[in-house]
């Protein structure tokens, strides 16, 4: 009965556009997500991350473009959707539901649900089972979504801003459980967040959305350490940066620094020889400076 493809890629998006009246939330977006990897869907608040995830899970309807999840359109497609779990950050729950009601009903909807794992996670996050959802703190609400996402073992699982309101211990719990469970039960994970440094080490691949467009789509490994900042006298920095892609420039009097998109080992040696100081750029810094072209450092500040 099902013709779902278990051949990679898990997700293929082509020319996806979503307009709300005159506002274009998602603008001609195309990307692939290959199976059994952890993808980061990164970008500032309002960049279009949640809209993209709603479109991928059939919760919203595309204005134009195509989406294929395991080879089929997700819209009203029960065969696709039962392999997908997406508890969004702003998920609404039925009136007067307690945490217990949520965890009693969620297993009915996910074929791979692991009840023992869910119970362990509920204890790890110290979720109060008898408390009403509307009385939960922001962090506890995030934890409910995280536990459903992890315990669902859905072949395609989304985590939407999982860190929102979580304290340091809970963040570590999520990080540890996600990695441990991922290695035992590989699946495709799409993790959306604006807190990039928090997740940088878990991600296999990074897709950065800004203003509804994809501005970066690359292996996390390739991005880590690819960029670099050189600093020194203005003349030396300008001379070295000439002909290279400069993401960001700073200057104070005769001193200057420039963040360069790629800085190979040979480049680093050359810079050092030219009397420049070379420092590495974190994934977050790289993305901040990529997106800062539109406006400045909100991403950095909110992180």
């Amino acid at each position: 009965m099902t013709t779902l493809s278990s051949i990679a890629p898990a997700v293929t998006v082509d020319g996806l556009t979503r307009r709300f009246g005159s506002f274009t939330a998602v603008d001609d977006v195309s990307f692939d997500v290959s199976g059994n990897h952890i993808y980061g869907l990164l970008g500032r608040n309002g960049a279009g991350k949640t809209t993209i995830m709603q479109l991928l899970t059939g919760q919203d309807f595309a204005t134009s473009g195509s989406i294929s999840i395991f080879g089929e359109s997700p819209v009203e497609n029960a065969d696709v959707l039962r392999n997908v779990c997406f508890i969004k950050e702003s998920q609404r729950y039925p009136e007067d539901f307690t945490v217990a009601h949520v965890f009693r009903s969620a297993p009915w909807f996910f074929g791979n649900w692991d009840a023992a794992f869910a119970e362990r996670l509920i204890a790890d996050f110290r979720l109060p089972m008898s408390r009403r959802i509307k009385k939960l703190s922001r962090g506890q609400l995030s934890a409910v979504g995280v536990v459903i996402g992890l315990a669902s073992r859905a072949p395609l699982t989304f985590f939407d801003e999982p860190y929102l309101g979580l304290d340091a211990v809970a963040r570590q719990v999520f990080y540890d459980r996600l990695l441990a469970d991922f290695s035992e039960n590989p699946r495709t994970v799409i993790l959306s967040t604006h807190l990039i440094d928090e997740v940088a080490n878990v991600l296999d691949h990074v897709i950065v959305i800004d203003d509804g467009r994809v501005i970066m789509d690359a292996e996390a490994e390739a991005l880590r350490g690819a960029a670099g900042t050189v600093s020194g006298t203005r003349a030396a920095v300008d001379h070295f940066a000439e002909g290279r892609t400069v993401l960001h420039r700073d200057g104070l009097g005769g001193l200057a620094s420039a963040t360069l998109e790629t800085l190979t080992a040979a480049d680093r040696a050359a810079a050092a020889a030219a009397g420049l100081e070379v420092s590495s750029v974190s994934l977050q810094q790289l993305i901040v400076q990529k997106t800062a072209s539109t406006t400045t450092r909100e991403l950095e500040q909110s992180a």
Partner: protein
């Protein structure tokens, strides 16, 4: 590096259409407190308050005054609460349970079918309970005080009529509530306002048609002739309209953040 197959097996557990719809029914009923306990407690309290009033009347009046007063309780609207409550449940099924069902990867079609089935089951349970209570009321001579709550005239003359009138009435409330909730889910407040305006136009048109054709007398006579059950059966028309229109509107509805 790139793996070919998905570790978590796709479609590991085949799910039949019936099962997919049934789990939506279970989701709608999982909070038994809201669906069963609260309405039962409130209905019990209404009965107690009414009984207290009947007792006061019985204790402080006599003769024809008492008979008049207790006969008057046949027009009691105390049990209308249950209809209002179910209207609110109908609204909430769409405004709150629908977004959660989508979060649990249900399709809109399965959600609509499951919720319609939930409404039929709830209306059946409550109309049977209502009819049973009306039998108790009759058997105890109005809870030993001569009062009426479940045997009010509006619900028909016998237990069979009451069963059907309450069943259709509750179903009407569920579907109208869900229709309102669906208009809100699809087009927010604008949808509810335009839906209300459309309803007002239809009602005004009907009133105008009756008035201009000078047929109020005929309408009154046919309503009397139809009786409570006849009128309640006509509710099947708005129920059908709401279920078809509601499903059509819900198919493109999206929960907003």
């Amino acid at each position: 590096m790139s793996a070919i197959t998905h570790g978590a097996t796709l479609g590991a557990h085949p799910v039949s259409a019936g099962h997919r719809v049934w789990r939506v029914v279970r989701l709608n009923l999982v909070n038994t407190r809201t669906v069963f306990v609260v309405p039962a407690i409130v209905m019990g309290s209404i009965l107690l308050v009414n009984a207290a009033i009947w007792y006061i009347i019985t204790a402080t009046t006599s003769g024809t005054d008492r008979v008049d007063a207790m006969t008057g309780t046949q027009y009691s609207g105390g049990s209308f609460y249950i209809f209002v409550f179910m209207l609110v449940i109908g609204v909430q099924v769409v405004t709150a349970t629908f977004p959660f069902a989508l979060g649990l990867s249900a399709t809109r079609r399965d959600f609509a079918l499951g919720s319609g089935l939930t409404f039929v089951l709830l209306a059946a349970v409550y109309s049977i309970a209502f009819a049973a209570l009306s039998l108790v009321e009759r058997a105890t001579g109005g809870w030993f005080l001569g009062g009426h709550l479940f045997t009010s005239l509006y619900f028909g003359a016998n237990v069979g009529q009451r069963l059907l009138v309450v069943f259709f009435g509750l179903l009407f409330c569920f579907f109208v509530g869900a229709m309102g909730g669906t208009l809100f889910m699809r087009w927010r407040a604008t949808g509810v306002m335009l839906g209300g305006a459309a309803l007002a136009v239809v009602v005004l048109g009907a009133l105008a048609a009756v008035s201009f054709s000078d047929s109020w007398g005929a309408v009154g006579r046919s309503l009397l002739a139809a009786g409570p059950l006849g009128i309640a059966t006509w509710l099947l028309v708005p129920i059908a309209v709401c279920s078809i229109a509601g499903f059509t509107v819900l198919r493109r509805a999206t929960p907003k953040s």
